[in-house]
Amino acid sequence: MIRRGLVDDRIGMKYGAGGRAMRALIEQVCLAGLGHGPGRDPAEGIGLAAMDDGAAIRVGDRWLVMTTDSHVVHPIFFPGGDIGRLAVCGTVNDLAMMGATEVTGLTCAIIIEEGFLRTDLERVYASIAAACREAHATIVTGDTKVMGHGEIDGLVINTAGVALCDRVVPDSGLRPGDAIIVTGTIGDHGMAIMAARHALALEGDLRSDVAPLNGMIRAALAAGGDGIVAMKDPTRGGLSSTLHEMAAKGRVGILLEELAVPVRVEVRGASDLLGIDPLVVANEGKAVIGVRADRADAVLAAVRAHPLGRDAAIVGRCLDQHAGAIILDTGFGRRMLAEPEGEPLPRIC
C-alpha cells in the first residue's frame, strides 16, 4: 500500500534508503513494463516483480540465482571495512539469502572519479580480493570507467553474482507460528558509518559488521532444511524494514521482542545519543532467518556454532493477525514498529 505522498517530481535521498519510499519508487517506475515473468509464485521462479534479494531461474533440475548491487559509501574506508569489501559481501549475501551459498562467479564494474588516488584504489582491490577469498568466490569479469572530476563522487562499484542451488528460499515464505532468528548484533554497520561520516567522537569501538555470510547460511540450511522458509539480509532500513517486507510478503504479523534483539552496548549508547533506533540502522553482515518453530533451535545452534553467528538469537514469532505489521514488545509494553521511510538522521545535524 503506497500512499499519495510518495510521488515527488524529483528523486530525493529518501528514495534510496531502503524504506517505504524506495519500494514505492520501484513499484511505480522501475517495475512498470518490466514486472512480467516469474515473480508471484516461487514454484515457477523468482523475477523482478517479487522484489526479492535476487532472481531464480530454472536451469534443468537446478536453480540459477542471479543478483546485482551497486555500492556507494561515505567514507570509502571505514572502521571494519571499505567499499571493496562491501561490494563483494553485498552480492555474496544477496545470493546466500536466496539459498545459493556456493558462488559460481562474480562480476565487478568500477567507475572512478578523475583524481582518485591510485594507492586508495589498490587498497580497495586488495580488500576485494580478501573478501573473495573469505567467501570462496571469484571475480570472473569486470569493467573499468573513469569519469570527470565532480561527475561522480569518488568511487562507484557494481557487482553481480551467479550461483546454482537445489532449493530457493524466497523472502515471502513466513507463516503464522514461524520463528524469526537474527544472526547477530544489529546496527553495527550503519552506526559505524554514521560516526565516521559525521566525525562523531563517540566512546567505544563502533565497527562495521560487513562480512560474507554464505558459509554461515550453508550451515543454517544444513541444519534447518525445508524448515528454513524465508531469509533476508537487513541492510538499508535495518531490521525494521526487512521485517516489514517479510511480513507483508508472507501476509503475517511479527511479534518482535526488543530485549531479545542483540545490540552491542556501544551501538546502543550511540543510538541513544543520536536519537536513532538501532532497528532502522543498516547491517552488512547479518541475516534474518524465518524458520518453522520445530526447527528453530537446531538452526539457532548451527548459526551460533559459526564464528559470524555467535550472538544469534530468536527475536520474534509470526502471528496470524496484524498482517504486514511488526508489533514491538519493548519488555514494558507493546507498540507498532513504524516502517522507516527515509534515511535515519542524527538529530544533532
Binding site: 511479534l255 552491542r264 496484524h322 519493548t330 519488555g331 514494558f332 509494553g333 513504524a338
Partner: protein
Amino acid sequence: MASPDQDRAFRELKFRDPVRARAMVDALARVTADLGRAPVSVMHVCGSHEQAIAKFGLRSTFPRALNVIMGPGCPVCITDTPEVDEGVALARQGVHIATYGDMVRVPGTAMSLADAQAEGAKIHIIYSASQAVELAEQVKEPVVFFATGFETTAVATAAVILKGVPDNLSILSAHKYIPPVMEIVAEMPETKVEGFLAAGHAATITGWGVFEPFVERHRLPVVVAGFEPLDILAGLVKLVELVRDRTPKVVNMYPRCVTKEGNRPAQEQLWKVFCPTGGRWRGIAHVPNGNLRLRDEYAHLDARRRFTIDLTSLWDCAPPALTQSCICGDIMAGISTPTDCALFGKECVPEKPVGACMVSSEGACKIWHQYGGHPDLRGIA
C-alpha cells in the same frame, strides 16, 4: 555484545527493569479496578511523557478503564498562530530570526518560518539561547531571538539576558508557563480530568510546591514524575491511588531530581526578567498568566516594542486550505486523539506537517506517527 551484568546495570541505571515494570503494571491494574468505575481520566502535560509512553509501548499495558490523556505539553505545539505570524512578519521585514529547530516548520496563518526562508528571509536555527547572542555578535545586523518553550527554556533565556546581550539582539518572547494552563484544563467540562501527572524536568526548576495552590483550589491530585518507564508507571500508580482515596495532594515521585523549593537561583533569574501575562495557547484558550513577557526593565530588548511588526503584510498570502481541517487544538486539549483527524498520516506527515502537533518531536501526532499509530495491542497473546 554486553555481558548480561553490564546489560542489567545499564537498564537498572536508567530505571528500565522489565520485571519491576510488570509488577507496577499489575499494581496499576489493581488500583484502577479498586475504583470500580470507568473511565478514569488523568492527564499528563508534557511531550516527554508522551514520548516515553509511546516509545516503550506503555499504553498497551494501561488498564482499559484508565484513560491517560496527553495535555498541552508540547511547547512548540502550543505556540499560537499569531506568535508565529509575528516571527514570520519580522523575518519578511528583513530581520534575522534565531529560533529552535522545530519552530521553523510550525505553520502560521499564511506560512511558516521555513516558507519565509524559502522566499529569502534570514532564519537561523539555534540550539541554545547563548547561540542567539553569538549570532548577533557575528552578523552585526538586527537579530530577533524568537524565544519559545516552557519555564525550563525561559530560564535559559533569562540567564542570557542577565549576562548582557549585544545592542542588535532583541527578544520575541513566546515563552509559556505550565501551572496556569492546568487550571484551564481542570475547568474544561469536556476533559473530566481527575488528576495530573506533572513534568519532572519543569519541576526541577519550579519545585513541586508550585502545585499546592492548584490542588487546594481544584481538589485534584498532582504527581510529579520522571521519564523512564518505571518513573511513569510508578507515577500513574500513585496518581490513581490518590484518585481512589480521594486525597488530593501533591506527591513527588521524582525525588532524585525534584525538591519542594526547586531551583531557587533559576527562579530568581526567571522572575527578574519575565512576568506572567495572559495569552492564547494554540488550541486551548486564553490562559491567564500563561505567557511570559519581558519586564519593563527589559523593554529595550523586547522585539514587540522595538519593531513595528506589520502583520498586515501577511494578509495577501492565502492560508493553506488543509489547515482548515486540522484538529491540533482539540488534540492538545485532550478532547481528540491524532487518529480522529482526517489528515493524520495522509496529507499531514512529519515531512509535510499541516499542524503543529506533527512538527515537534514532542507533538502528539508526530509521536503517534513515529511509533506506529495507536492500535489497541492489549489482546495479543
